[in-house]
Every structure is written in C-alpha cells, then in structure tokens.
Amino acid sequence: MKPINIIKSTAVPVPIENIDTDQIIPARFLKATSKQGFGDNLFRDWRFRNDKKDPEFPLNNPSFKGKILIAGRNFGCGSSREHAAWALKGYGFDVVVSSFFADIFKNNALNNGLLPITVSPDFLHYLIDLVISDPETIIEVNLKNQTIREFIKGNQEYFDINPYKKDCLLKGFDDIAYLISIKPEIKSWEALNNK
C-alpha cells in the first residue's frame, strides 16, 4: 500500500443517509476475480436509470469532482463486500467523509488506503452546504495532524483515528505482512492452546 498523509481536493457531496454497500456496488457486479474495474459501476443504479445517466445524481454533475466523497450518516452499512471500497477507490476517491460509518466498511476502507473520516453532524452539514454552494471548495485532510479543513473560510475539525492504524497508513504498512512476520508466535500459541 502507498503511504498516505495529505489529501487536498475538491469534493463530491452525496447527502443521503444509510448508504448501503448494495448501492455503492450492486451484487450483480461482484463476479470479477480481480480487484480492478469496480469503479465503473460505483453507485451504478443511482448514476444510471434505464442505462441513461441520471443528471440529478451528484456524480453526474460536472461541477462536482475530486478525490473526496462527502456522504450522509451510517455510510457503508449492509453487506461486508470489500468491492465497495475497491469501487470507491477505483472511481478515484481517496477519502469518504461522513458523521458515522458502518464497522465492516470502515475496516475494508482502511485496508485499501481509502480514508473514512468521521466528523461531527454539524461539520458534515456545513461541508455539504459549502460544497453545494461552491463546488470549487478545496478540502484538505491531514492524516498526521488528524484534521480536515476547508479553504473557503478556513474552518477545520479534528478527527479520530486509531494510532496503530494511523501509523500503518502513514507508512504504507500492511496488516497481513505484519501477521505473517509473527508466525512463530502464532504457532507457539496454537501449541499451548491445543489448536
């Protein structure tokens, strides 16, 4: 995984609550055996109606673009499909901002270098309004300082992230490689515990 620290970009607002992973990537697109190509079908059934682009959907609005997705609370609920994280990443998002994330999605995102940033409900609404009124608004996520800031008025908020996970992301370190490296310890635990 590539190290992550600062992401500075315009943002795309999708101010809908309870966006489940079936909306992020519908089940019928889960038949690939690699991690590539899911971005094409991100929010497929909201982006397209009868195979035509729905101009109302923010991802189809040419004024909204960038690496940051801002979405309503309880983002990523439902199915555990990691394809949701691959689809968001594949489409070009590096950050999802919401006031509440579902657990499994959050893990999946972090395991793919997609930052799930939890902000207060007030700051979320503030950011959504700001981006809708001025799509050129630049937002900066600083992982090291754990801050998210907008560049119109300069307001910012601090966000929480587990120190271990933060360190991994800053260094581009991978959980699996770490666990493989402690295989001898796992083996002796197994022997001791009759596993």
């Binding site: 019928r28 038949k31 499909r81 657990d103 793919n112 635990w189």
Partner: protein, 461 residues
C-alpha cells in the same frame, strides 16, 4: 481483589487472544473460516502474490452459494462470469488443500446454513467468513463475524485476524410470543426499535425467557440479522437446546469427546455480575407479525400498523417503495414471494410456510421462489413430503443457494414489482434493479402468497 464477571463474548474473545498490539487491535485466533466464491478469489490472488500458502487448510471450509443457479444444478452454470467464479473457487481449494462443497456435493448450501447443520459450528469457537451474515453462527454460542476480502486473506495466511474488541450489548426479550409471531418478527421488531445503525460498534448477546424457549433454528434467524442493526455480531449462550441440536451431526464431537466438550460448553454464559456497555429489554407480548415498508431493515412496523404519519411524502425510501405516510401495508397487492436465504432457508422455515399453504392454492398473480438453504435441507423437505404439499398448492421447490436474497443469479424480482421476502435486506435493488422488498416471516410470506396481497398470517392459523 474484586474481580468483575465476564460476558460470554468476553470469555470467548479472551480464550482466543494471541496477543494485542499496544494502542491497536487484538490478534485473535480463528477456529474456523468459511469461504465462498464471491469474496475469496482476490484473497487467494493475494496469497499467491505474497508467495505464501494457506496456513491451516484444516480450519477452512468452502462452498458455493451466492451466484449459483437454483434449477438444473447438475448442468454447467449458464452464466459465464458466475461459472468462472465458481470454478476459480474449486481450483483454489484444490491448490491449497481446502474442503470444498461444490454444486455436486451433498453438503453444498449457504455457508451459514451448512456450518451449523454439519456440526462444524460449535460453541466457544471464533468463526469468520467474507459475508456479513456470519453473525448467524452466534446462535450456537460462538463469536462469529463478517469480514472483508483483505481479512479473508489475512486469516487464510495466518489463521489470525487483527480486530478491535467491540463493546458489549445485551438485548433481553421476555414473555410468550403471540400466535403467528416467529423469531423473524422478534428480530424485525428489535431492529425497528434500535434502527439500522443502533448496534454499530457492539457485539450483542440475546437473552431472556423468549430467547431460551426458541428452537436452535429460530435462534439463528435472530443472530443472523444482528448485522442489520450494524452490530459486529450476535450471540446466544449455549444450553440444552444447543447441545441437542449439535449431537449426532456429521462433524460433531463423538463418544467421550462429546461429554468433555459438553462440559466445556456449559461454562459459556455471561456471569451474573458481568457488565454490558448497553442493555435493552423488550416484551414478546408487544410484538405482532412484522413487515418492512422502507429500504432499510430498521423501517419495520406491525402488520396491523400504519407507516408513520410523520414521514415526509418525498422520503426517498417511500418514493422508491411507492408508499405514502400513513398507509397500511395490509392488503397491498404483491407480485413475488421469496422463501429462503441464511435468515429463513432452514427446514423449520419450510415447515412453517407449508403449515399455512397446505390444502390451499397460491394466488395466480404471485410468482414464488422457494429455495432451500442447503442440499441437506432440500433432502429433508423431500423426506418429509413437504415438496408434494407445496406442489399441490401450486408452488415449486428450487435448489440450494442464496438466490433472490441478493439476486446475483437468475432469481430476480423485476423493476417496480413487490416481493414479500423472508430474507434479510430490503435495500434498493437488492432483489434486482428496481425491485421492492417487504421483509417478513415465512408465515406472512405464505399467507401473502395465497391471497396475492400482504396478509396477516393469523387469518390462516
């Protein structure tokens, strides 16, 4: 020194903690991983790229369920991508020495159905699977949770997972459920009270007299839907019901090993002085058959109730469903009925459905998908002659798989059509693009299939 009691969840977690990372997650040993065709191929690819193997193939079981057809399973899968995904799983299992229950195997079925029915799922275990409904296995007193594909790879490579310990919640349900009220109604009621995010960050223990009086299969329906509140998992303390269910199953402990295990399992309960981070209590008498009206499982009401009047007409989910605030769902016309899934695809669900439709006729305007959760369930249905009763009532039995729960195969509900479904999710498009799902129990699904309208099953009981 004063020692605080432990919850059953904390006991099992503690017994599997290999180590913990300072300021980070715990390293948890996993007793069993189930894998299926959809969330595993990228994990195996990852293993190859890392030039590492599957560390404990003896602790992995594979089956095909998500995208398989539910008719003519003896023929090659028609749909090319599904066929490729299924054959990829078979190849991967062969390469890494994993037990594989493919379409031609008598044990094939939905992962969360076959684990318990084969006696693979046993109290006190830690279980993972790349599927959010892994919480089902918690009904047998296990710590079981859904994971993503990176984590599938992690467990394949090391038999361990890095995981933050969730908070604990207890949901007590006491009393005797009324006529026509099943465990599906109980859990839909609980979710409607806690909302689709009310359990996020928690591992839920279900207890109380109502839960203890439920059969093993009914308990699985409860734990199955824990994830619909966002919970990491659900668990029920194992008791005599659990032990009786497991005894004699294919992979259950035998002879002297059985008594040793039973003794061990009997220790798995929450101590009386154990503290939960959150606790709720409900009365079974307050619950009637439930139906959902919206596009998340938290949007449920009693079948005699009205959709909340205070919802906005422009509410996205009501618009999608074609309902209005204040509407009653009772007597609304429907087009499809789906009996099946890891929520309600077991033999008791088929018995319940059949108890309503026996000697009656399916409404002509209703298309039905009746899909056993596994090949063993299908065999049991035939043994008991349930398939004949269903045929006489105008229904057809299909073959095992996830089917119309997520519509990855051909079993779809068309755009705009209503389906009374015994599955677990009513998300937009879940049963096919534009499909409209009403979640309900097998009894309500059966009653609605007979009338072609959303129907209170108590009319037929």
């Amino acid at each position: 020194m004063f020692k605080m009691g432990k919850t059953i969840f904390e006991k099992i977690w503690g017994q599997h903690k290999v180590d913990s990372i300072e300021g980070g997650p715990d390293i948890l040993f996993i007793d069993k991983q189930f894998i299926h065709e959809v969330t595993s191929p990228q994990a195996f690819e990852g293993l190859r790229n890392r030039k590492t193997g599957v560390r404990r193939p003896d602790r992995v079981v594979a089956t095909t369920d998500h995208n398989v057809p539910t008719i003519d399973q003896h023929l090659p899968i028609q749909e090319e991508l599904s066929r490729l995904q299924v054959s990829k799983l078979e190849e991967n299992c062969k390469e890494f020495g994993i037990d594989f229950y493919g379409l031609s195997h008598p044990y094939q079925g939905i992962v969360h159905i076959i684990g318990p029915e084969l006696g693979i799922t046993q109290p006190g275990m830690t279980i993972v699977c790349g599927d959010s409904h892994t919480s089902t296995h918690g009904a047998l007193g296990t710590v079981a949770f859904g994971i993503g594909t990176s984590e599938v790879e992690m467990v394949l490579a090391t038999q361990c997972i890095l995981q933050y310990k969730p908070m604990t919640m207890r949901i007590n349900i006491d009393g005797k459920p009324g006529k026509g009220v099943t465990s599906k109604d109980i859990i839909l009621y609980v979710i409607s009270k806690l909302t689709a995010s009310g359990g996020t960050g928690y591992f839920i223990e279900y207890s109380g007299s109502t839960i203890s009086s439920l059969s093993m299969e009914a308990r699985m329906t409860i734990c199955n839907m824990s994830i619909e509140m966002g919970a990491r998992g659900g668990i029920i303390a194992p008791d005599q019901v659990t032990f009786n269910y497991i005894k004699g199953r294919k992979f259950a402990p035998e002879k002297e090993n059985w008594s040793k295990k039973e003794k061990e399992w009997s220790q798995l309960f929450s101590d009386p002085d154990a503290r939960f981070d959150k606790e709720y209590s409900f009365k079974a008498e307050d619950i009637e058959p439930m139906v959902t009206f919206g596009t998340n499982p938290g949007m449920g009401i009693g079948i005699s109730e009205h959709i909340p009047f205070d919802l906005d007409e422009s509410d996205k989910s009501l618009q999608y469903m074609g309902f209005m605030p204040g509407d009653q769902l009772l007597n609304k016309p429907i087009d499809y009925v789906f009996l099946g899934s890891c929520t309600n695809g077991r033999i008791e669900d088929f018995r319940a459905f059949t108890s309503i439709v026996k000697g009656r006729k399916k409404a002509d305007n209703v298309t039905s998908y009746l899909v056993p959760g596994s090949k063993l369930v299908e065999a049991q249905i035939k043994d008991e002659g349930i398939d004949k009763i269903l045929n006489n009532a105008g229904f057809e039995l299909r073959q095992a798989g996830c089917s119309a729960c997520l519509a990855m195969n051909e079993d779809k509900v068309p755009e705009g059509k209503y389906c009374v479904s015994t599955s677990n999710r009513n998300f937009e498009g879940r049963q096919g693009p534009g499909s409209r799902t009403i979640l309900a129990s097998p009894l309500t699904a059966a009653a609605s299939a007979l009338t072609g309208k959303i129907t209170d099953p108590r009319v037929f009981i």
